[in-house]
Symmetry: C2
C-alpha cells in the first residue's frame, strides 16, 4: 500500500481541489492512502495572502472530501518535518503549485527522505476554479445588507 | 436499505455542511444511502440571495463530500417532483433550514408521497459556520489587488 502526500491551502473549496486530490491518490495505485497537509495560517500569510478561513476550519473541510484518508496541519517553520513523519512514497504537486521540483528533490535527498515527487498536470476547469477567483467574485458582487444582518446575529 | 434525502444551497462549503449530511445519513441506519438535492440558482435567488457559485459547480462540490452517495439539481418550479423521483424513506431537514414541517407533511401526503420528515437538530459550531458569514468576512477584508491580477489573468 502506497502513501501519497498532497499539500495545499484549501481556503474556499472548489471542484479543482477534489479533482487534484483524486488524481494525487491515483498516483499510488488502487489501494493508495492519501494524506493531505494543510498549510498553516502563518505560512499562507507569508507566501500568498491572508486566508479567509482559519487553519482549523480548512482542516475540517478537507477531512470531509472523499479521496482524503487523513489530513493534518503542517508545521510553522520546517516544511520537511511533516514529510519525515508521514514518510510518503509519493509527494503529489498540484498543477497550479509553484514548487521548484529539482530543488525540492535535492532538499529531500539532503534530509534522507526517500520519496518520489510527481507533478499532477491534469487540470479541472470550472468557472470559479480557485479560491482567489471566488474571493474576487464576492468582492465585486452587490448583496442586500439584510442578508448579513440575519446570518451575523 | 433506507434512502435519506437532504437539500440545500451549499454555496460556500463549511464544516456544518459535512456535519449535517453525516447526521442526515445516520437517520437511515447503518446502510443508508444519502441523496442530496442542490437548490437551483433561480430558487436561491428567489428565496435567499444571489448565489456566488453557480448550480453546476455547487453540485460538483457536494458530490466530493464523504457522506454523499448521489447528488442532483432540483427542479425549477416544482420542489416535489424530485422527491417523487427519489422516493426517499426519510427527508432530513437541516438545523438552520426554515421549513414548516407540519405543512410539508401535509403537502407530501396530498401528493401521495410516503416519506418521513425529520429535523436534524445537532449543530456544528465553527467560526464561519454559514456561506453568508464567509461572504460577509470577505466583503470586510482588505486584499492586495496584485493577488487578483494573478488569479484572473
Amino acid at each position: 500500500m502506497k502513501t501519497v502526500m498532497a499539500t495545499g491551502t484549501f481556503d474556499i473549496i472548489h471542484p479543482g481541489h477534489g479533482f487534484f486530490l483524486e488524481e494525487a491518490k491515483k498516483l499510488g495505485g488502487d489501494d493508495a492512502r492519501l494524506i493531505v497537509v494543510i498549510a498553516r495560517d502563518s505560512t499562507v500569510r507569508a507566501r500568498k495572502r491572508v486566508p479567509v478561513v482559519d487553519e482549523k476550519q480548512r482542516l475540517e473541510v478537507v477531512k470531509m472530501l472523499k479521496p482524503v484518508d487523513e489530513a493534518h496541519l503542517g508545521y510553522e517553520n520546517d516544511m520537511f518535518q511533516i514529510v519525515k513523519e508521514i514518510n510518503p512514497d509519493i509527494i503529489a504537486i498540484g498543477p497550479d503549485q509553484k514548487f521548484d521540483i529539482p530543488q525540492l528533490n535535492e532538499d529531500l535527498k539532503k534530509r534522507n527522505i526517500d520519496t518520489e515527487v510527481i507533478k499532477v498536470t491534469k487540470y479541472k476547469n470550472s468557472p470559479l476554479d480557485s479560491s482567489c477567483k471566488i474571493i474576487s467574485k464576492i468582492k465585486n458582487m452587490e448583496f442586500d445588507e439584510k442578508i448579513f444582518k440575519k446570518c451575523l446575529k
